[in-house]
């Protein structure tokens, strides 16, 4: 099994078992997060709830959804929801159904408080059995938060607080925000790194039982 096949197999298994998979691209030409997003196709079609927390402009997320072959438009607002962190911090409301933007004054702490309230409301409205949480390019936190290390930990702490069975997929490009790598390695059950070396695109498992 090559690295990418292994990645896809582990992600599918993790979605069922409620585990966290971290994708660490060692440079921004690796694009390992695109095949990783492709793994959302099956759970999306099966009607499982998917919660995407996006740290990049919304159109960047949608473009990557299309590249990954996801028919996101027919699922948004039904079983696919997006928290547009970029839009929230920059006060840009796209008005797209199923995409949430936190409004009003926001700093790192206030963001977490408002996000917590949003999750509580949404969970009590939808009452999902389980949720797949996707962090879309968490490296974007370095541009959006004053203290990205603290923000990342408090955001994932909401998963622990929610007490809903969640699987997680973290995507991240290391050179854009090196400080967040530590938490990804600590918290994820599995980590895969993507590199391009001598023209070869490779995916290597760097944390997990079959590494």
């Amino acid at each position: 099994m090559d690295g990418e096949e292994k990645l896809m197999a582990i992600i599918s298994e993790s979605f069922l078992k409620g585990k966290i998979v971290g994708i660490v691209d060692r440079d921004f030409s690796a694009f390992t997060y695109i095949p990783a997003l492709r793994s959302l196709k099956k759970p999306l079609e099966e009607g499982r709830y998917i919660w995407v927390v996006s740290y990049e402009p919304l159109q960047s997320l949608f473009r990557d959804f299309r590249r990954a072959g996801l028919d996101y438009e027919s699922h948004l607002g039904k079983n696919l929801y997006v928290l547009d962190v970029f839009g929230s911090m920059r006060h840009i409301d796209s008005g797209v159904n199923g995409v949430f933007v936190l409004s009003g004054y926001l700093d790192d702490r206030v963001f977490i408080l408002k996000y917590r309230t949003l999750i509580q409301d949404l969970l009590s409205e939808l009452g999902p059995e389980d949720v797949i949480v996707v962090g879309y390019l968490e490296s974007g936190m370095c541009r959006l938060f004053d203290n990205p290390i603290r923000a990342q930990k408090l955001l994932w702490n909401l998963r622990e607080e929610s007490r809903v069975k969640t699987a997680g997929l973290i995507t991240y490009i290391k050179p854009e925000c090196p400080a967040l790598e530590e938490f990804i390695y600590l918290y994820s059950d599995y980590v895969f790194e993507g590199v391009v070396e001598n023209g070869l695109r490779r995916v290597i498992m760097t944390k997990g039982d079959e590494e």
Binding site: Y185, E193, I204
Partner: protein
């Protein structure tokens, strides 16, 4: 007195640990997962009925506990049975407090200049509790801190430097270190820098540096014994990570 870490290969390489010493686990890159070595020592010490004080610095406690559980630390049992006490610095600073028994919080306001006094007060209170319960007798006392480098992002590198420079003196003057037994400490530190890390390399009695490399598309992890009381050449051990645990080869 010589103690063991409870990790055979490492104990053999070190020839035991001098009681009350400071062991620095320098996780040079996060992928090396050196923190899990601290959890491994913690698990071994608790399972063999010793006392552990865990200093939770930069991570929400519920996340720390979930990681510990994956590393095989039965924290619920050990908290309940009084072997384990936790000081939750992160929860104290950011007001995330639970009601677990034997988990302590520091009184606000918390800044780097008063932090050490607050630790001393809480450590003193818990040591008194251990003494009253007769827990010290026949048991080793260990302090585990994960992770010292978290202070850099909570405060600043400069403030962390000052904290380390002054903490020693404050502790040496404090009564609680004379009145009650003092522990053997394990501190973890992630990353490389030239501001705080050199102070820790000097202060520690043992420096265990962990690093990882990718060789032939496989991850390889190494532990270098950089410093020990008898300074010799650097010894390197190889280890891997399976089932949430570190295994030496």
């Amino acid at each position: 007195m010589t103690l063991t870490l409870g990790i055979r290969e490492l104990d053999e390489a070190l020839g035991g640990i001098v009681e009350r010493s400071l062991i620095l686990i320098h996780e040079a890159d996060p992928r090396s997962l050196g923190k899990f070595l601290a959890f491994e020592i913690m698990r071994e010490k608790l399972e063999s009925d010793n006392l552990v004080g865990y200093f939770n610095i930069g991570t929400p406690l519920s996340i720390t506990l979930s990681v510990m559980e994956k590393a095989g630390v039965d924290w619920r049992k050990h908290l309940q049975e009084g072997r384990l006490m936790i000081i939750d610095t992160f929860g104290s600073i950011y007001d995330i407090k639970g009601d677990l028994e034997n988990v302590w919080y520091l009184r606000k306001p918390i800044d780097i200049d008063t932090l050490n006094e607050k630790y001393i007060r809480v450590i003193g209170a818990h040591k008194q509790k251990w003494a009253e319960m007769g827990m010290f007798k026949g048991r080793e006392l260990w302090g585990i801190t994960v992770s010292m480098s978290d202070y850099l992002s909570i405060f600043t590198p400069k403030a962390t430097q000052r904290y380390l420079e002054l903490a020693d003196l404050q502790r040496s003057r404090s009564e609680i270190y004379k009145k009650y037994p003092a522990g053997t400490n394990v501190w973890t530190y992630t990353g490389e820098d030239t501001m705080v890390l050199p102070l820790l390399y000097r202060k520690a009695d043992y420096v265990l540096k962990t690093e990882s490399r990718i060789e032939d598309d496989k991850i390889k992890r190494y532990l270098h014994i950089v410093k020990a009381p008898e300074l010799g050449n650097v010894t390197t051990l190889e280890y891997d990570f399976k089932g949430g645990r570190i295994h030496f080869q």
